[in-house]
Amino acid sequence: MRCDEARELMHEALDGSAEAREALDGHLADCAGCAAEFAALQGAQQAVAATVDREPPEERMERATVAALALVGERRRSPWAALAAAAAVLLAFGLGLCAGRSAWPRDVVRVERVPQVVERIVEREVPVEVPVVRERVVVRRVPVVRERIVYRDRSVAPAQVAPAAPREPVMPEMREERIVARPMAITVTQSEEVMPAPVAAEEPPADDEVGAGPDAPEGERLALDTSASESERIVQ
């Protein structure tokens, strides 16, 4: 028998084959290398067996068994357990009512109907740069905030409810500002937001005076025309 054949038989012999062991013994008696290899393989097998072959701890097996039985038992009883829990809740509620102890506070005698805002739309127009038209009229849009509040319960007037502080400053409705510019270079800062409050405090200039004065400072020429309607157009 050659050594490579003997190596094949070593595993068969360690698997428990008596024939392989018998055939191997003759070679092992003559070959020290194969004998050492077989002893090492046998030692590895015995070491694995000694490591994995342990008597299980009784308390761990008992714990696992009890837990498994409980898990399986819970699964079977679960519909009844749910019914029992529901019945217990109903019973406790009924007993509470009979004893005059409501689950709700006693001082609440009336629940006011408060309209609930279900929709809140806020639109904002950003300043749009409009090119200077032929009539030398500069149209500039003022930022406008539109706010629409829809109440769920329409039977309750919104006035009954204390108005909440608006999140955004409510600006006047859509308004166009018309600024008449002179032919000479007039620079309009389109990104500038024009607030209505300062303008309303001042005396609004007459229509024919807006931008008419050649010596007027540029700030005056850019004053707001708060009285003009949307369809009106001021042309110099």
């Binding site: 428990g16 030692g43 070491a47 342990r54 068994t65």
Partner: protein, 188 residues
């Protein structure tokens, strides 16, 4: 002595058959007795594969739950113990794969509770565990189950759900690899 448990368990199979029939009819005592009579084998398989008592306990519990819940669908013409061993192996592999550190399962508790109490034996057991942990999963499972001493190659193959030749190949390769890993220990 290594035996094939499927061949010499005639009386036990009969007793199991009666218990299974009762358990399927809803007999809680029969279910409990089935679990108690087979938990040792389940635990040994789990511990051999996992090498850790905590994990083996978890795998045993899961295997018993699966066994008890699967009784209704169990074909009583099959071998109950082979079926349960298959469940135990699958549960142990599930636990093995859930481990965050992969296959390493050696903990102090396992080494300390080993009957061989001297330091060299502890070192060898630790080296064996580390070596097993480094083997491919199928080789590790096959070698561990076969080393239990209770299952022959055919029963090991049934428990792993593969052919006997495949298990033999896994055992031989795993044994040869482990022999190389343990050369420092085995040649002393």
């Amino acid at each position: 002595m290594r035996v094939n448990p499927t061949r010499d368990g005639g009386s036990m199979a009969d007793a199991d058959g009666q218990l299974i029939a009762r358990a399927r009819r809803g007999d809680g005592a029969a279910r409990e007795r089935l679990a108690r009579e087979h938990r040792r084998e389940v635990y040994r398989i789990a511990c051999a594969i996992l090498g850790d008592d905590d994990d083996a306990e978890d795998a045993t519990q899961e295997a018993l739950v699966r066994m008890l819940r699967g009784l209704r669908g169990f074909d009583q013409r099959r071998d109950f113990r082979a079926w349960l061993r298959r469940i135990a192996v699958n549960c142990a592999i599930d636990v093995l794969r859930r481990r965050p550190d992969g296959a390493e399962g050696l903990r102090e508790e396992t080494a300390a509770s080993n009957p061989a109490g001297d330091a060299q034996a502890h070192g060898l057991h630790r080296a064996v565990r580390c070596g097993l942990a480094r083997l491919p999963e199928r080789q590790r499972v096959a070698l561990s189950l076969f080393a239990l001493g209770e299952l022959d190659l055919r029963a090991t193959a049934e428990a792993m759900g593969c052919a006997e030749g495949t298990v033999k190949s896994h055992v031989h390769r795993g044994r040869a690899t482990l022999r190389e890993m343990l050369s420092d220990w085995l040649e002393d």
